[in-house]
Assembly symmetry: C2
Homo-oligomer: 171 residues x 2
DNA sequence: GCAACTGCTCTCAATTTGAAAGCAGTTGCA
DNA sequence: TGCAACTGCTTTCAAATTGAGAGCAGTTGC
């Protein structure tokens, strides 16, 4: 573990961990998409190619952002899990989504989740993080009632997609 | 302005704007270091090289993250200014700094600012953003009393540096 | 027994990165 | 009036990274 860092500034070090065009998208798909397997992550909106995905997963594991384990149901399957470090990025994801929604040409269906995260605020983020800890770290569930945050976000997304499909038919 | 975006997801679009190893560091130096000129930005902690800096400044201007204007005091000097879009990154910077401070091997002097930003919370961030609007957008100052947020952060940084120098002498 | 699926790896071209030197001016000072 | 220091870059060229696509050695389900 040599210090080949450009500087010991927290922002710089953060960028050295996920300051590239793909790492945060992988983490996004794990957090919001619930993806855990290589082939799932390969089917990203943005079309990451397999060599890049393999490389990023490897370095994210090396940096403690993910862990990798065997899937008991299939000898060739690997399961990737978030660590506390990565779960702690949820508020940053929320801010990033809110910022992008405000200043960049997002689509409605792909930003509805960001909107709900923004409206939900820190309380929703905390609930989401707790659910991720249960899912990825084996923490015991604290409030087991109702749909999960991810399910709620996903349902909203699908509703927008359905509405848009209906609107397209009316042309 | 063609849509050559990978996807219209807010997180992806955000990453297309500043998802690289240098752009956010430039913005960091402008926000926290008060830097406005090319040669100032060239003297970053991390040692950016001039061709990369020139390229990033150009694309940041093209994307509306910065504006560039002439310095009346020197015919060859350019002044780079933040836009509202970039000032709105202050909370993300604060979160990023807090995250890095918690999970990565930061140094005390380079993370004291992040600590104060974290402790100050949204109220401090808003005050800082207001000051940046005055400095970069020509907004009229709202609360003109006392030292600026940047001055406060800078003073704390220098205090740590001075203390560490003293401690080194005692060896 | 075979198609579909598993997490990758390999190849090779294209792009990006980066250090370093240099440049055409401008400015401040002696 | 000269000259050193400074201005925002640009150029050069090697090295590293990126990326699409094909392929692979197995595993699994039917």
């Amino acid at each position: 573990m040599t210090d080949d860092h450009r500087s010991a500034c927290p922002i710089n070090l953060s960028l050295e961990v996920f300051g590239d065009k793909w790492s945060l998208l992988i983490i996004r798909d794990m957090i919001f998409g619930g993806k855990r397997h290589f082939r799932e992550l390969l089917r990203s909106q943005e079309g990451i190619s397999s060599n890049i995905l393999a490389d990023r997963l490897k370095t994210l594991v090396e940096m403690g952002m993910l862990t990798k384990s065997d899937d008991p149901s299939h000898k060739q399957k690997a399961i990737y899990s978030l660590t506390e470090m990565t779960i702690a990025l949820v508020p940053i994801m929320a801010h990033l989504g809110a910022w992008g929604r405000r200043y960049l040409p997002v689509s409605e269906e792909l930003s509805i989740r960001a909107q709900l995260m923004e409206e939900g605020g820190p309380e929703l983020w905390e609930r989401f993080m707790d659910e991720l800890r249960v899912e990825h770290l084996g923490a015991s569930p604290s409030a087991p009632e109702g749909p999960t945050v991810r399910q709620t976000l996903q349902a909203a997304y699908e509703q927008v997609v359905a509405r848009k499909a209906r609107e397209r038919e009316l042309v």
